[in-house]
Assembly symmetry: C2
Homo-oligomer: 132 residues x 2
């Protein structure tokens, strides 16, 4: 476990397009018109189409599986709080930071935070990962 | 809130293909070779390629946004425990069940469970949703 330290961080940025949202709707079966129908969304609480929270939260999985902790890690859990809407065209930066390293087992907890280009937190939460 | 009752349930089933996994890797940026590279995965803990947990967990979002509670609901949070691997070709049934309805605010909590065709729980957790 010496290769990981509390405070280690990694980030990933992606801009979400209408095409991303359409593709994710097909893959996830989440065809809520809030994501797909501009007229419907205009009348909704958010006033416009929003990106699926679970699509954006998948950035955490991407970081965890490919960079920190990286290959060989096993995703045990993820808690997510959807704090603010993500709109089409928004650029989101997801970050993970190690907050605890268990001494008895190779299991670490990471704070997971996604912010938009204005710095507003759109998703936060924690991930639990078993490391190689 | 009278239209929702503790114990109300809804389910959705999907079979995950290699194409689903490739598409989700591109969308999520999660290109962990455990999902994409059969040779790499054969040497891994799981012995074969696995489906992204976040892709399968998106079934919960699909049910919540389209059926129970359905359109107009606002996804506030989702806790996920990844309990067992999901392999290519697996058919997963995701279910949500209302477990608490707040009396002070229009917020409900649902148990979220995904099982494979053998009845093994692959993902469980809870969702928190604001209802119309």
């Amino acid at each position: 476990m010496a290769k990981f330290q509390v405070g280690d961080r990694s980030s990933l940025t992606k801009t979400y397009t209408a095409e991303d949202v359409q593709r994710f709707s097909a893959l996830s079966l989440d065809r809520n018109p809030l994501h797909l129908d501009a007229d419907y969304a205009a009348e909704s609480f958010f006033g416009q189409r929003i990106v699926h929270g679970m699509l954006v939260a998948s950035l955490f999985s991407a970081i965890l599986g490919t960079d920190l902790p990286g290959e060989g890690s096993i995703y045990l859990g993820q808690a997510l709080n959807f704090k603010a809407p993500i709109y089409l065209g928004d650029t989101i930066t997801a970050s993970v930071e190690i907050i605890t390293i268990r001494s008895d087992k190779p299991i670490i907890t990471l704070q997971t935070t996604a912010v938009n280009s204005e710095g507003t937190i759109v998703i936060d939460g924690e991930a639990v990962v078993k490391v190689p």
